[in-house]
């Protein structure tokens, strides 16, 4: 039961973008760990992420 709730909660967080920064950090660690630039701060990342969300058709009738 608790396991299902956890999976559900993880789904809700991912669906809403609540964990987007954590996922970004994981992606960063995997692909750009040796890069010169440090990862973006949470506020900075969220700005870019939110603005990127609204390119193209996202809602319809």
């Amino acid at each position: 039961m608790l396991k299902h709730l956890k999976v559900f909660w993880r789904g809700v967080r991912q669906l809403s973008g609540d964990d987007a920064y954590e996922r970004y950090l994981r992606h960063y660690a995997r692909h750009h760990a040796d890069a010169e630039n440090p990862p973006l701060s949470k506020a900075e990342f969220f700005k870019q992420w939110q603005d990127g969300q609204w390119q193209g058709v996202k809602r319809c009738c």
Binding site: G11, Y21, H31, Q48, Q50, C60, C61
Partner: protein
């Protein structure tokens, strides 16, 4: 042994489904339990998904689970990201499910429950779901390209331009008709108007919270927002009872229409984080939550459907919109059965998240099945009302008369008894001054939902449930409205950029202001006309929207059919070809009738001539004579728009047939633009758990 068991299970589902449909279809008694509808729907969906969708995925499309998707190949941690199947499903469904499947079935219920129900079921499994799934597939194989881009690549410049134009015009008509639905729901309803207006400052507060106060704390901010929304529903009741404050929110339709235009303009030019994004969060939670609640309430409560299976209005004399059963039931219910708009989401947005091709069936086909189920629930909510009440709410004053006594006499004379007292009591229960002629579908859906929720969770709260339902519809209509205006602005900037490159810079302020103003005046014009039209505007705008939406579906199916033929799958081309042929038939027939019908409630020219004659002979009362020239102009405009729609459609169909026949006779055609096969390297566990 296991096979036999499987066969038996599916056979049972088939028999139950067939009996449920049979039960719905031959029922001619007083009433029928709504559970029959739910059962029929679930069985049809299960069988279609298990067999038809699986066959299309495996044989027609030949999805390849070893092939890397664009999300994997182009993974950038931003828009291209391999994502868990159910998360993609959630995003996809939230994007495709808008107010359309709620409004269409409500209007189509004037024909009785049967025609709409059958079209929602079979239109979706054979048409809408196929369109969504095939479009998702072809876009996934083409680096998540948009429908317009694919039309250009696979058919040629003509197809591409037509797709772009069609998308833009649909956006304009769609926003206008949705705006009209909101205006009609708020007209002279202080409670409704307050609650809907309150969603705007709430969204802005949440926007600031997420962006500046606690950046990225999306769920936390949304929870606060949802709480505030619910509070605003309750507060609306208090405002409504306050003698002075209620006058601040009590407005004519036209005033509200101007406010909505101002809002749309503001939303298109303000940064997304301030209004659009937070409002979208709130509307998504409201949408998913309320739809789940409605499904649970219907299944637990099993309300009784009181509308007859088929009404006399199949002859074309219906009060809500004019036109015979064929083709107008198929035009009225577009979203929920087949919706071209979905092809814009299925190409471009969703494929960027897809981690494996085998998820295409669940997301493309399954997502549309769920939307079809939403339409089914809207149909149930509309038909659980007493038919007399349903027609009293939805019939415009221009058809049944302005006075309550006139209206009830007329509606009762159709064989749907209703009384003035009954309507007054109902209006009082719902916390409204009147429920007569509240066209557009939203108020009657809200009454239906309120009575379902009321009997599930207590009758005492009917007025609160009613306004909750109005808020729920309005909040995501406004989301579609502002997101649509913004997309329209970008498309216009893109088009104008071809002529004057400076206009194409989306962030250049003059360009943003001018194009936003143009888009808003485009839909604002139709909204304005819809509001001043004595026949309620819905009668004209909704069919126009349906035709436009299905024309877009036809374009998507043309692209898919051409791709199937060019991939040497001619023998399977009927999978997309048959729904395409059906759409061509219904949109062309509907347009033809809209142009040539002598009936002034159907034919644009007939209505224009009739009004011009009356104006010339001076038989119109002064207030009608004042708006008559505008209405006449608009009727002509609508006629030319429909001609443009149908010409565009035939142009693309011929272009598709030309490309196919050239391919089949071995002549040169634009080559398939499928991206090369790269084996997937994704480790199963971490991405698909």
């Amino acid at each position: 042994m296991k096979n036999l068991q499987q066969t038996l299970i599916w056979l049972t589902i088939a028999i139950i489904g067939a009996s449920a449909i049979g039960g719905i279809a031959i029922q001619r008694g007083e009433s029928i339990n709504a559970l029959w509808f739910v059962t029929a729907a679930l069985c049809v969906y299960a069988i279609a998904f298990r067999f038809y969708a699986a066959w299309i995925a495996a044989t027609v499309l030949a999805v390849d689970e070893t092939r890397a998707t664009p999300a994997e190949r182009l993974d950038n941690g931003h828009d291209f990201t391999p994502t868990n199947k159910w998360i993609v499903f959630g995003h996809h469904f939230a994007a495709i499910a808008g107010p359309g499947p709620l409004v269409g079935p409500t209007l189509a219920a004037q024909f009785g429950y049967l025609p709409g129900t059958l079209w929602i079921l079979f239109g979706s499994v054979l048409g809408g779901c196929v369109q969504d799934m095939v479009t998702l597939f072809v876009s996934t194989r083409r680096d998540a390209k948009s429908l317009g881009q694919m039309a250009r690549d696979e058919l040629g410049a003509l197809g591409g331009t037509a797709a772009l134009l069609a998308t833009f015009t649909i956006m304009i008509i769609l926003i206008a008709v949705l705006g009209l639905v909101v205006v009609n729901a708020m007209k002279h309803s202080p409670w409704g108007t307050f609650t809907v207006s309150a969603t705007i400052p709430i969204a802005i507060i949440i926007g600031f919270y997420m962006r500046h106060f606690r950046p990225g704390q999306v769920l936390e901010a949304s929870a606060i927002g949802v709480a505030l929304l619910l509070l605003s529903v309750a507060a609306g009741g208090w405002i409504d009872h306050h003698p002075v404050m209620r006058t601040w929110f009590d407005h004519e339709g036209l005033t509200l229409a101007w406010w909505i235009m101002a809002y749309g303009f503001a939303a298109a030019i303000l940064p997304v984080w301030m209004l659009l994004a937070p409002r979208d969060y709130l509307s998504t939670y409201m949408k998913l939550g309320t739809i789940t609640l409605l499904a649970v309430a219907i299944i637990v409560l099993q309300p009784t459907v009181k509308m007859p299976a088929v009404t006399q209005f199949i002859d074309g004399t219906g009060p809500i919109f004019g036109g015979k059963l064929f083709p107008f039931v198929f035009i009225t219910i577009a979203c929920g059965a087949i919706s071209g708009f979905h092809s814009l989401v299925a190409s471009g947005t969703t494929p960027k998240l897809l981690s494996n091709e085998r998820d295409i069936r669940t997301i493309g086909y399954g997502g549309m099945l769920l939307e079809s189920f939403v339409a089914m629930m809207a149909m149930i909510a509309a038909t659980v009302l007493d038919p007399g009440v349903f027609f009293a709410i939805n019939s415009p004053a221009g058809v049944v008369g302005k006075e309550a006594i006139e209206a009830v006499a007329k509606i009762s004379s159709w064989g749907f008894p209703v009384s003035v007292e009954q309507m007054q009591i109902l209006a009082k229960e719902m916390g409204e001054t009147t429920l007569f002629a509240r066209t557009g579908g939203a108020p009657s859906l809200a009454v239906g939902m309120a009575s379902i929720f009321g009997s599930a969770f207590g009758q005492g709260m009917l007025a609160v449930w009613y306004h909750f339902a109005i808020m729920f519809e309005a909040i995501f209509i406004l989301t579609t409205l502002d997101a649509g205006t913004r997309v329209g602005r970008f498309m216009l900037q893109d088009m104008l950029g071809n002529i004057w490159p400076k206009m194409g810079e989306t962030s250049w302020a003059p360009s943003a202001l001018i194009t936003s103003a143009l888009v808003v005046s485009g839909w604002g014009y139709f909204l304005y006309i819809g509001v001043i039209d004595p026949n309620g505007g819905v009668n004209i705008l909704w069919p126009l929207f349906g035709i436009a939406n299905q024309m877009l579906a036809a374009i998507a199916l043309c692209v898919s059919t051409a791709i199937l033929v060019k991939s040497d799958k001619l023998k399977f081309a009927w999978v997309t070809g048959l729904p395409l042929a059906w759409l061509i038939i219904i949109t062309s027939t509907a347009t033809w009738q809209k142009l040539t019908s002598e009936d002034i409630r159907i034919g644009f020219f007939a209505a224009a001539n009739d009004m011009a004659d009356k104006l010339a002979s001076g038989s119109l009362p002064p207030e009608k004579a004042a708006t008559a020239p505008q209405l006449i102009f608009n009727l002509h405009l609508d006629a030319y728009i429909s001609i443009a729609f149908v010409s565009l459609l035939w142009l693309i169909v011929f272009d598709m047939l030309r490309v196919c026949s050239r391919y089949l006779t071995g002549k040169a055609v634009p080559p398939l633009t499928e991206s090369p096969h790269i084996p997937s390297r994704l480790v199963e566990e971490w991405v698909r758990d």
